[in-house]
Structure formats: C-alpha cells, structure tokens
C-alpha cells in the first residue's frame, strides 16, 4: 500500500527535465540512498522525499536518481522496489535492478611446511573471523625467512560466491597485506591493489569459488580484507588478520609422534591444537627433534621466527621427555641470545617433566627453564611398578606457587600415573588459560 501511494505521488512529478550527469556523484550501491550498507525503510523514506526532486538542485537526492536520467521518477521507483531489502553490486547512475551477488570469505589457520600437518586444515569459524585475537593469525613474511619445506607463511583464503562468476573485488585496510592466487607466490600470480582495492577478481564465468593466499609483509597489528563489488564499497564479508608477535612450541612425550588426527591420549598436542584454534602460531613436535643440547628443528623454527619474522615472544611446553626438551631448548635460546635477536621467553610449562639427555633418561627434570617469565608445573609421583618411576617434581619459582602442582594432592589426580597425567582436562585447561593470560598472540 505504501508503494501504491508513492506511485500515485510520482505521477505528479513526471514533468521534470532530464539531467545528463544524474546520480554520478553517488558512491553507494543502488537504492542504498543513505549509504549505510543496507537497503531498508530508512532508504525508502529518503527516496520518497526525493521523488520528483531535481537531483541537480537537490544534491541530497543524487543517490535516488538510480538510472541517471536526471529525474527521480517511476523508473527509479521500479528499481528501488526490486532492490528493497536486497543488495546491489551496481551504483547510480548504472543501476539496472540486478540483484547483487553474495560472497563469503573463509580464512584458514596457518600452514606448516608444505601443508597443514601436524594440524588438520582448519577454517576459522565465521563468528571469529573478525575477532582481533581469536581470528586468523598470520606470520610476517620477510625476505630471508627460512622456508625449507616451501613457503608456509601465507594464509589460505577461500572466496565463495553466488551466482557463479560474480564480479567482485577485495579491499584491504593496510598495505601490509598482499594477495596471491598461488601458494608459493609464483611470479605473475599476485593480485594488484590500486590504492587499497583490487580490480575485478579472476573468478571464472562458471566458478563459484576462488582460492587466494594472503601475505603479511611487515609490522605488527591487525588488518582487514573485505570483499565488495568493484564499483562500490558494500562489504559482503570481512576477515580481520592479526600478525603474530609470538611463537608457541609444543613438545610431546617419548614415543608421541604428531599425527593427524591427533591421538586423544597425547594431551600436549591437544593443548597445542586448542591454542592453534584460537589464533596462536603453534608448532608441534615429537621431542626427538630437540637434541640434548637444545638444537634441532624446533630450535631452528624459533630462531627463524625471531631473526626473520619479527617474533619477539616465545612459549614452550612439553610433557615427560618433552618437558626435559623444554628446558634444553630454553637453555640454548638463552645462551645464544646475542646472535638471535631480542626476544622474551614469556611462558614455559612442564607436565611431569623427565630429563631428556637421551631416549633412556629417566631422571626428574627439576630445573626451571632459563629466563622464562612464567613457568607452570604439573607433576605426580609413582612407584617403579606403577609407572617406571617416571616422575616430574617440584620446580623452584613455578606456578601454582611455589613449585607447581602435585596433581596427586587433588581429588581428580590422586591416583594418576606418569602415563596419563598429560591427559587430565584440569591440567590442559590450566595450561590453556595460562598461555592465554601470559602470551600475546
């Protein structure tokens, strides 16, 4: 009925003279007269007030002359009704009434080497994709960064569109972000930004999906990528990236290799995955990659992050021999600081840590990791025939104060053995919450 009334009103305004540049100054999508990103009652009220006005003499009505014929008339009204409560990828004066496309961006958690293992390929949930902490994290990718197994600092981003072949573009909030169509930055595969917006993305006519790879080139902070029509700034979806300042290393116990899917009895890796899923840059290793002098792949990964990716915060945690390796790695990092760069070991954690001088080391690891800012310690004590006397123990200046938690003093851990201590939800939860409160992403 409302529209009928308006239609009747329009008849009285049909004699206005045409204007050559009608609607040319409107930067919004068709029918989004107030430019708030949606086409709703407020737009209708504004449009109605402009009906019959000369857009040349009433600049506030510029967006109502959708077909650019210099009149705000029935033709514009017809376009408005088509687009009401929908979206348009066009803007005045080029409105045809075609409904706009829909688009969804999905970012994935970071890669490792030439794929995602030891993590599954993990999409960031829609409800977290614009969260500055829980959303997608991204490594700063700088020249000189070691990528021995292939470039893995780029974040996979999948754009799904409807209808297939929709014309869409990307907008970035910072030029730290670059976008590629190839995972390895193959020459010629970069999508160019003019200012901070791309031209129409290379979505094939029948394609409903496009995989892109996002690179963060320098500096810390957050930056957004939005998908929008090439000619307007109507945001169809947005992803907010945060550049990693920290690196988190998780070390399993003896004979606990990483796997996809994770072994549910490998508590250290469950914690690693939990932190990965909330936006940390987590790297998980079999403790065997850490030599008794702290050297090896895990150490090299941390040094590379500090020396080449501007990371300056480190967290390391491990269970059993992984606890011993946590000490060994922290020790080596601390000894070699002068050649690595400025960094802090913000967080370490032992779960029933056993010294890792060797694969047959059964001694308790009771030393606090050198230079760590915060150390969490869980341990138990068993007999030889219960658990081969594999025990952690009190570590000076640990949390909970003063030397950590003997879980056998708790109701839930009273009868625990070395082989299950890492699996308690209470242990894992405390690790997760203390990483969260001590380590900046």
């Amino acid at each position: 009925m409302r529209y009928l009334c308006i239609t009747m009103m329009l008849i009285g305004f049909s004699a206005l003279s045409p204007r050559a540049d009608g609607g040319a100054g409107c930067p919004f999508q068709c029918a989004d007269v107030d430019g708030d990103g949606s086409i709703n009652d407020a737009d209708f009220a504004l449009f109605a007030s402009c009906l019959g006005e000369d857009p040349q003499s009433a600049p506030q009505c510029d967006c109502s002359d959708m077909d650019g014929n210099g009149q705000i008339d029935l033709a514009d009204f017809a376009l408005f009704t088509l687009l009401f409560q929908n979206v348009s990828d066009e803007s005045p004066p080029g409105c045809t009434g075609a409904l706009g496309s829909t688009a969804n961006l999905t970012a994935y958690r970071p890669q490792h080497g030439n794929g995602y293992a030891p993590f599954p390929r993990t999409p960031v949930p829609d409800n977290l994709e614009t969260d500055p902490w829980l959303g997608p994290g991204i490594r700063i990718n700088q020249p000189g960064d070691d990528d021995p197994q292939g470039e893995d600092d780029l974040i996979e981003l999948v754009l799904d569109v409807s209808p297939p072949g929709a014309a869409l573009a990307l907008h970035r909030s910072s030029n730290a972000l670059r976008v590629w169509t190839s995972r390895t930055k193959t020459p010629g595969s970069e999508i160019a930004f003019t200012g901070d917006k791309t031209s129409t993305l290379p979505i094939g006519p029948g394609d409903s999906s496009l995989t892109l790879w996002v690179e963060w080139t320098t500096g810390f902070g957050t930056a957004a990528l939005t998908v929008e029509p090439p000619t307007t700034s109507v945001v169809k979806d947005e992803i907010l990236f945060h550049a990693f300042e920290s690196i988190v290393v998780a070390l399993g116990g003896e004979n606990q290799p990483t796997s996809v899917p994770v072994d549910p009895n490998h508590g250290t890796f469950l914690v690693g995955i939990a932190m990965y899923n909330v936006g940390f840059d987590v790297h998980m290793f079999d403790e065997d990659v850490v030599g008794s002098d702290g050297s090896g792949e895990a150490y090299n990964t941390v040094v590379d992050a500090i020396a080449n990716r501007q990371v300056d915060k480190v967290a390391i945690f491990g269970y059993s021999h992984g606890g011993g390796s946590t000490y060994d790695m922290a020790d080596r990092l601390d000894i070699n600081r002068a050649g690595i760069g400025v960094f802090s070991i913000l967080y370490t954690s032992y779960v029933d840590a056993v010294g890792n001088n060797s694969d047959v080391d059964t001694s308790m690891e009771l030393r606090r990791p050198p230079s760590t800012g915060y150390h969490l310690n869980h341990y138990q004590h068993g007999s030889f025939f219960e658990d081969l006397s594999l025990d952690g123990g009190p570590v000076p200046n640990s949390n909970p104060p003063p030397t950590g938690l003997d879980i056998e003093t708790t109701p839930w851990g009273a009868t625990s053995t070395h082989f299950e201590v890492d699996d308690f939800i209470e242990v894992r939860s405390l690790m997760e919450s203390t990483i969260e409160s001590n380590v900046t992403r």
């Binding site: 004979n255 001088n357 047959v360 025939f385 006397s389």
Partner: protein
C-alpha cells in the same frame, strides 16, 4: 602362513619369525665382524619385555621384572641389546621407556651399554639406529653449554687402531653426527698421532672453524656468514691424508649449512673412504 599374512604382521612379529627361522637353520646370530649388525631378537626376552610393558597391574610387573633380572644375570650384554631392539619398535610411551628403566634399575654402566650397542650400529634399520643413538646420548652427557663426552668411544677406537684394525666406521660417523668438532679432536687423539706439527694442524683447523661458528652464533658476523680463515681451513681438512679429518668437512657442513662449499663437497663425493664419500653425497 601366506605371504599376505607376513606383510600384515607387525615388525616385531616379523623379527620373531626371522629369529625362529634362523634357529631352525642353525644360523649363528652373531658370527663375525661382517655379521655384527645381525644381532637378532631373542623371542623370549622380547615377549617378557612386551608383557612387562603391557601388564595391567603393579604386582604382575613386579613378577615379570624379576624374570628380567634373571636375564640380566645370565647375559647382560644381550639384555641391553634386546631392550634396545624392543624400544626401537615401541608403540607407547611406557614401552619406549622400558629401556631406560632397565638401564637405570640394573645399574648398567656407560661402558657396558656402549660395548653392547656398537656392534649393532651397522644394522640397516633406521628405527633401531635412532634408538641406539638416543641411548648412547645418555652417556655422552651433552647440553647446550657442554660438549659431548666421547671418552668411552675414544678408548674403543684407540684400542681397535692399536690392534691394527680399522676404527668402527659407524661409531665414528655417529660421533661426527653428534658433534663434529669434538669428534675430530677425539679421532685425533685416538689415532695415535704423535707429531706436534700434525697435531697443531688439526687443532688449529678445528679452532678456526669453531671460531667462525661461534662468531656467527653470537652475532659478531652475519648469521649465515663464514670467515675466510674458516673456509681455508675447511679446504685444508678436505685434503688431509687422514679420512677422519676429511670426514669433519661434510659433517660440519651438515650441522652448519652456511659452511657448505659445493666444490669441496663435489671433491669429497669421490673420496676413497666410503664414510667421507657418503657423507658428502648426502649433502649434495
């Protein structure tokens, strides 16, 4: 048993089968130097270790442990070898740690463990080799601030050389893999080198290369830079008459890739000593 069934068997079961066949055919398990790598599984001990690792309660483990103690009294070397074989195929943390428990609880010394494991170092089994290296590390006592102690190895190698035999190549290769510098100096002493100028040649080369590594590790030169003096010394060692001096070159290049020289590695690939040539080939 069909061929298919054999493939479905676990590695331990296959080893047991091979061991049983060997018994039937009266093939000696350890015969000569050439056969040293063929230390085979003892089915009874393996079964005992397996039962111990998987027993459900402490009293069952206690009884099984007593049986292991009897094995230890009967043949200590064999028990070390058997627990190492067992741990190399472990499927759980508990099973993997049985070797450590045996070594600790039966007070096995470094000398005993090294003597038992060195003959197994040429076995063509990567999991076993990893376990042997992981066990030997216990007695090398290396840390971030402390180089490994190879004195036990030096004694073994020196003895072999004094007796006119070759140094056990696998053991020498292991040392170079763990710490090339300490390995070079250990070999220098074990090789009975007596001429001071020749000793100083080795000492100086190791010192100069280590100095370059130290400078790069601590930021006095770029992280991936090498001093020209170190490059010169590596060149000299690559042409040294002693194979163990030449072996240092690919070994240290493996550990510190910044030291890599394509020219030297190409030369060393055709070295007359197989340890040197193989190490160089792996780096190419």
């Amino acid at each position: 048993m069909t061929i298919t069934n054999i493939y479905r068997m676990t590695r331990r079961h296959r080893l047991l089968l091979v061991a049983m066949c060997a018994c039937i055919a009266s093939i000696p398990a350890i015969a000569s130097d050439a056969d040293k790598a063929s230390v085979t599984t003892n089915p009874e001990t393996q079964a005992l270790l397996d039962e111990f690792a998987n027993a459900n309660d402490a009293s069952a483990r206690e009884s099984l442990w007593e049986q292991l103690r009897q094995s230890d009294r009967a043949d200590r070397v064999s028990l070390i070898q058997q627990v190492t074989l067992f741990a190399s195929d472990a499927k759980s943390t508990r099973a993997a740690m049985v070797a450590g428990a045996v070594i600790k609880e039966f007070d096995m010394t470094g000398e005993e463990v090294v003597a038992a494991l060195v003959p197994m170092m040429t076995a063509d089994d990567s999991a076993l080799q990893k376990q042997i290296k992981g066990t030997l590390a216990e007695f090398e006592d290396q840390s971030a601030s402390r180089p490994p102690d190879f004195s036990m190895y030096r004694a073994i190698i020196a003895n072999e050389l004094r007796e006119g035999r070759d140094a056990p190549a696998a053991l020498v290769e292991h040392m170079y893999d763990v710490d090339p510098s300490t390995a070079l100096l250990t070999m220098m002493r074990a090789s009975q080198m007596r001429e001071p100028t020749k000793l100083r040649e080795i000492l100086w080369a190791e010192h100069v290369v280590s100095d370059s590594i130290w400078k790069s590790t601590h930021g006095f030169i770029e992280r991936n830079a090498v001093t020209s003096q170190a490059t010169e010394q590596l060149d000299q060692l690559a042409h040294h008459p002693s194979w163990w001096a030449r072996l240092y070159v690919p070994a240290v290049m493996k550990r510190y890739p910044a030291l890599k020289s394509a020219t030297l590695l190409e030369d060393l690939q055709s070295d007359q000593n197989e340890s040197v040539a193989a190490a160089a080939r792996k780096l190419r």
